[in-house]
Each structure stands twice: as C-alpha cells, then as structure tokens.
C-alpha cells in the first residue's frame, strides 16, 4: 500500500488538488471570492510593482514621443536639438498635464452635477481572466477600505457606469467591470421606458435581456440604470443599443449594447460612496444594504453547480 502511494504520489496529489480546486470553484462561483488574506498580501506585494511599472511605461512613452522622433534634428544643430528636446519634453509634460486637467475637470463637473457622494480614484491595472481572452475583466484602483471604500459601491465616469467594487483591501480595491458576465444591472430604455437587465457578454460587450418582442427598441437607443436595486443610482448611462435581433425563443429580443464608458481609455474613476443611494429626478433616497457579490437584479438565479 505504502509503495503504491509512493509510486503514484504525483498523480494522487494531483487528484486531491483537482478536487480541492473544484470545491473552490463551486463555493466561490458567484463572485470573485477568494481568501481575503491572500488578496491582501497580493495587493501589498503587487501595488508597488504595478506603480513602478506604470511609471516605467510613462517614461518610455515620454522618451519615445519626446526623443526618438527627433534624432534627425540633432545632426543639424546640437544646441538647437537640446532646446527642441527640452521644449518637446516640456510640451509633452504640459500636454499630459492638460489632459489630466481636462479629465479631472470633467470628473469634477460630473461630481458636482451628481447628487451623491463620490471619491476619485486612479486605475492601477486591468486584469483579464481566461487565456488570451476577455471572459472576465476586473480592474485595480488605488483606493481601499482605508479611504472608506466598501464592496458593492458603484464605480462611474462622466461617460457612464464602469462597474462595482467587489473586493477591498486597505490600499486598493477590485472593480468588477460592467462587461463581466457576472455583472447584472436593472436598466431602462431612455426613449421608451422599457425595462430590462444588462449583462456582460464575456467579450467586451453587453447584452440587454428580458425585453419582449413587442417592446419598442431600436439601434441608437440610450440605456440608463433603472435604480430598482440598492447598488446603482437611477439615470446613469449604461450604453447604447447597437443591434436588435428577434432572439432564439421568439419571446424575448436579443439586444446588443455598446458600453458608454470606454474601458480602454480609463485612467481615473469615481466611486459612489453615498451608500445604498438611488437618485430619482435629482433627489436621493436611501435604499438599504449593498449586495456585493450577488446579482443586482433578482430576476434570474443561477443554478447550483
């Protein structure tokens, strides 16, 4: 018996750990889940690495934009080149400042306009799950529980909804993007007030579900949050309808949306910290507790594993 175990120890260990993994999958399938300690340790270890890498990237991009293209000019005049390089460097810096200024101004305008309490945060990095794919997308931001951030808080930009906080550590938080298949939001078509549920399609887009064949929806319609649940305030832009098909079941339409927020160009976001707030025609209403890992809508329940 002992010799058998010794001879096949690798396979036996593999089988045991495969079973442990399957158990973990079945217990954490609803959210990002996971061990809080592991997450905290990873967050502490990776935050400086990520910040350093972002710094390196900015420097490389700066050098590339500021110097590489100007190599030819150095042959004409060394002094002139130095001046030009300085000016280009300054110009790049100013452009960067200008861009940052414009983005922050836009965030501030949005913040002032929105009657909920918000906290601004910078994005540390994007994480995608699935080999080479975009099945599940989360992003890390530089604000955590130390800044009053809690799981379940909505994350927005002036362009529209980004997602919601699913995990917080002391210094960082994880945001589940709108396009993640685990994300569900109650929405309303702005033009016709038809209600539905938006889910991520796992490839960077959105799907609007539970809209009947007789409901009036056309490409170009804007979709906003319905504010029926406790997570997202009412009236925030979610996306725009890009295609409307008959669907497979002849009862509900198949509607594809383009997210309003451009996730590839995100650099700063706002976290709505009001806590269980919904906006109705400019007023705020407290609506109870958050639902950090659960679905925003209770219309559809996932079947157990």
């Amino acid at each position: 018996m002992l010799s058998f175990i010794k001879r096949h120890q690798v396979i036996l260990a593999s089988v045991i750990l495969c079973l442990v993994s399957l158990h973990l999958v079945s217990t954490t399938r609803k959210g990002t889940g996971g061990d809080v300690i592991v997450r905290s340790v990873l967050s502490v270890v990776t935050k400086p690495v990520q910040s350093a890498l972002i710094g390196i990237r900015s420097k490389v991009v700066g050098v590339w934009n500021g110097y590489i293209y100007l190599v030819g000019l150095s042959e004409e005049n060394e002094g002139l080149r130095r001046t030009i390089n300085q000016l280009v460097e300054e110009n790049n810096r100013l452009k960067e400042e200008l861009g940052l200024n414009a983005r922050l101004k836009e965030l501030l305008r949005f913040k002032d306009k929105t009657p909920v309490k918000t906290v601004a945060a910078e994005i540390l990095g994007f994480s995608s799950f699935g080999p080479g794919g975009e099945w599940m997308r989360t992003l890390a931001i530089n604000k955590g529980s130390g800044d009053g951030i809690k799981a379940g808080m909505p994350v927005v930009t002036p362009q529209g909804i980004v997602g919601r906080i699913v995990e917080t550590n002391r210094f960082t938080s994880t945001v589940l993007l709108l396009t993640d298949p685990r994300s569900n939001i109650d929405v309303i078509i702005q033009r016709t007030r038809v209600k539905g549920v938006v889910e991520g399609d796992g490839s960077g887009g959105l799907i609007l579900k539970y809209v009947r064949q007789l409901d009036d929806v056309i490409p170009g319609d804007r979709v906003v949050t319905a504010g029926l649940s406790t997570i997202f305030p009412k009236g925030l832009l979610v996306g725009e309808v890009v295609s409307v098909d008959k669907g497979e079941d002849n009862f509900f339409k198949r509607i594809e949306l383009r997210p309003a927020a451009d996730f590839r160009r995100l650099e700063e976001v706002l976290i709505v910290t009001g806590g269980g707030i919904s906006m109705k025609q400019g007023k705020m209403e407290g609506t109870g507790a958050h639902e950090p890992f659960g679905r925003e809508s209770g219309r559809k329940r996932r079947k157990p594993l």
Binding site: V10, C18, V20, S21, L53, S127, G130, P131, M136, S203
Partner: protein
Amino acid sequence: MKNFLIFLPVTILYLSFKSTIAPGLPLPDITVLAVLFMAYERSSVEGVVLSFVLGYVEDVFNGGIIGTTAFSLVFIYAAVHLISRRVHFSNPSVRAALAGTLTLTKGILIWILLSLTDLDVPFLPRMLLAATVTGLFAPVFIAFFTWLKAVKITGVAGGGQR
C-alpha cells in the same frame, strides 16, 4: 522550495506586467510554461502543490472564479507527468507544440468549468492566439527557466562551500 522561490515571484511579476504595461495584448502564458517546465524536468508532489498555488494566485490576481485556473494547472501538471514517461521534450519544436497544446487545454478546461457554473462565456478565437504565442515563446522561456534554476543551484552550492 527552490521552485517556489523562482516561479512564484516570476508569476507575480508577470501578472503585474500584464495588468499594467500590456493589458489586452496576447502574451505567452508563463504559468503554463512554468508548470510544463517543472513537470518534465522532475515531477514531484512539490511541483503539484506549486502548480495549484500558481493557479490560485492567478485566479485571485485576475479576479476570476477561484479554483478554475488552479484546477487546470494541476491537471496540466499531471498530464505532462504522465506524457513525459513516454515522450522526451528535448527538441524545441516539440516543446513549442506541447506548450501551445497545453495553453489550449488550460483555456478549454476553464471554459468548461465556467460553463458548469452557468456563466455564458464565448469560446474565443483569442484562445488560439494565446496558444500560438505561448508555443512560439516556449523555447525561449524554458531556456530562461533552466538558466534561472542553474544560477540558483550554483549560488546554493557556492554558499555551501564557504
């Protein structure tokens, strides 16, 4: 223990790099290459545990469903352990083909697990791209891992002599 000291930091660095410098770009799957390297070089229970840990860290870091990558990496380790009894991976082209196939296997396993948890995810063609990129870079990374391990062994031996 040596493998832990090498592959855990390498994986964390790789995941940080992927999330900051190159989000969305098809990069070689370092965890698959690390598991492949460990399994064919000298398979052991430590290697199985490390495969599980690397998968777990990847799941936690990427915000995926915990256990999916861990499962696929442990499965891959066991598969390579069994295959390596019959096939030798000394040829770089064989390593490249195997790495590509294993990346595809990892993707398919994760996809199956996600489908079982009732999450609709498309079977993306990008999975094939990731497998190709991993296959192409496999000989380079395996040579790098071999070098890294040799450096470590020399360092330990040197320390012992003193």
